[in-house]
Symmetry: C2
């Protein structure tokens, strides 16, 4: 007998509530036709995820693509927790008003000419699960 | 001024050492032409990652594909930590000797007819970074 791997699906409201509790998630995209993943800071803007990409060119390469964004919190001892996955199209935020507002989220002033880029992932699909994984 | 997002690349030996410290990672694959990610238990078998997929059909769909496997540990307060990404081809383990050995890793007996599947990701590329993310 094995423990169940997945306990139950989360509602969209539950997913959004959980997304507000964590500062770091993982952006999943395709790079040179291969799966790629990187941890990033984020904040929620309504149902959208806003990611700050600093001094790096990967944000431009991701723009326009359908990406996944995953956040989880899983306890290594009890092997229980949750995982939320957002699927949507990534765009680089260029509107100045939005940039100022988004920078406020990060408690930092936004300055023109700064190398930071802000990516928006417009949530097309939002799914989540409460998990119970198997002990290793 | 912003803090650096990435501090330094990790060597392969460092990556493997870090992979041995965590029980849970994230499998990144393509599902219906869309990026997909799910948390899974794993163990290392040399340089390969072995994933247990219980009572689920997704393992079969992943078999034969190039996948990414990510493990990280990032402190939400200091925004520092590490991330290791393994890129390789996933195969379902069918060899009985290997299955018995792999099941030992998980401290569980493997029984014929069990619905568990074990996936091997043969590490083609192993990269890691010590991270310093931006405060949210």
């Amino acid at each position: 007998m094995t423990a169940p791997v997945e306990m139950r699906e989360l509602s969209e409201v539950e997913c959004l509530d959980l997304l507000r509790t964590e500062p770091i998630g993982r952006l999943v995209f395709t790079e040179k036709a291969l799966p790629a993943i990187r941890p990033v800071n984020y904040v929620l803007d309504g149902r959208d995820v806003i990611i700050r990409a600093t001094g790096d060119s990967w944000a431009s390469r991701v723009a326009g693509a359908v990406v996944a964004f995953e956040v989880d919190r899983i306890d290594g001892a009890s092997h229980t927790g949750w995982s939320v996955v957002l699927l949507g199209t990534a765009t680089i935020i260029t509107d100045v008003d939005t940039l100022v507002r988004v920078s406020d989220f990060h408690s930092r002033p936004w300055a023109p000419g700064h190398r930071d880029r802000f990516l928006r992932i417009r949530a097309g699909r939002l799914t989540g699960r409460r998990l119970s994984l198997l002990p290793a």
